[in-house]
Symmetry: C2
Subunit: 247 residues, 2 copies
């Protein structure tokens, strides 16, 4: 939908108004640090990206960064950065910028990366093996405990010292250990049945790569990565670009 | 941030007001079918999901569906479905619901799936091989033309009849063929250099799986899949759930 400049400004003013209204309603907003409630999905969606950039800065030996410099690197506005981080209490001092290591640690805590999460991968095909090989997950507390598949040819194969087990061992395995997360890297046709088994045996969170949405009990957390959805968005943007209206 | 009911209603009214304001400004909105402009990212982000569900309905032999029934299946409100589809002219007749096959075809056109897109994969590790093996991409017009890697042990290996080529053949390959999309499934340390080579040789769109953002010329379309960002969102929701505030 097209808006003239006056229309855009009007919407902007309204948005600001709504924001101030919300902030005004919530008197305790500055005191909430970690474990904060009701943060919008959009803000949460951006936190891993902050975490990633702060990690790169930390590796490069940068100790302190202003929201302006961070904004240039991340291609978002400095005011968005300040607003996002204010949701958690701010972390920065006016004029001094952010302490990179501290901010990264705090965002890591918000994301639960200071705790360890036991994980299994269901489906040891290429995608499952790719996930199993990401050593960086382990650094962030995601500990691979098991990999399962139905293919007997994969029995005994190990990936980063974790052996591939057969699916008929899954239930007992889950009952004997505390596993929190299951990554589902198997065909859509199996995903629904397997996810029911997982939930019945105590899995609390599913990282779903199967080409379908899972309808599970409300207390099971599902984060889906639909690769073909992402490819279609790319294709949409190619089309728009050809029309001369690229994003 | 917490809002009381009155606060929520206030925000809702304002949102509605903004929506009607926008719709009112745009007199031509009902006539735009395909090739429509200025559709919000959020709507575009949902189109692949509609396409997926309509595909499932089509496979199941369903010819017609009401927005209410579609809404129950997709766990979104019927009014959101109607609003989303109205962006493209509607597709439905009051009381008759949507023609599944027609709607799917039209959404496919909007997403550019009625055209073919030549694609290469850079990085023939597990993830690259996983992508190369998704036959369903081909059905939607994404044609795998080449796979490249630096690992000489992969030379000559074929995936769905496409041979793995060495990286030093990449530039000539791109110059001789019309390739639109490159999927980057290689380590972060190589991604930036390789993406520059791709763009220099005519690649217009990058499907980026490397653990870094790419800063490319504005006319290059980048769609990133940051797997660890997704895992961190999962972990955030686990934390929130433990606190008793799961989404």
């Amino acid at each position: 939908m097209k808006l003239g400049n006056s229309g855009k400004n009007f919407v902007k003013s309204l948005t600001l108004f709504v924001q101030f209204y919300i902030i005004g309603k919530d008197n305790g907003w500055r005191s909430r640090i970690v474990g904060s409630r009701g943060i919008s999905r959009a803000v949460i969606g951006r936190l891993p990206r902050y975490y990633r950039y702060l990690g790169e800065l930390n590796e490069a030996g940068v100790e302190r960064i202003s929201s302006n410099d961070l904004s240039k690197r991340m291609h978002v506005t400095a005011s968005q950065i300040r607003q996002d981080l204010n949701n958690f209490g701010g972390f920065g001092q006016q004029g001094y910028g952010y302490n990179v290591k501290y901010l990264r640690t705090e965002i890591g805590k918000i994301l639960g990366l200071d705790q360890s999460h036991n994980m299994v991968i269901i489906g040891a095909g290429n995608l499952g093996q790719a996930l199993a090989n990401y050593a960086s997950f382990e650094k962030n507390g995601f500990i691979l405990q098991g990999i399962f598949d139905v293919n007997p040819q994969l029995r005994g194969k190990t990936i980063r010292d974790v052996p591939v087990r057969m699916m008929d061992e899954l239930e007992l395995f889950l009952q004997e250990r505390e596993i929190e997360i299951a990554a589902l890297t198997l065909p859509k046709s199996k995903a629904i049945e397997v996810s029911d088994t997982l939930v019945r045996n105590g899995i609390k969170a599913i990282w779903n790569f199967a080409h379908t949405d899972l309808n599970l009990p409300k207390d099971v957390i599902v984060e889906s990565v639909h690769l073909s959805d992402s490819l279609m968005k790319l294709s949409y943007n190619i089309m728009r670009h050809k029309e001369g209206h690229g994003e």
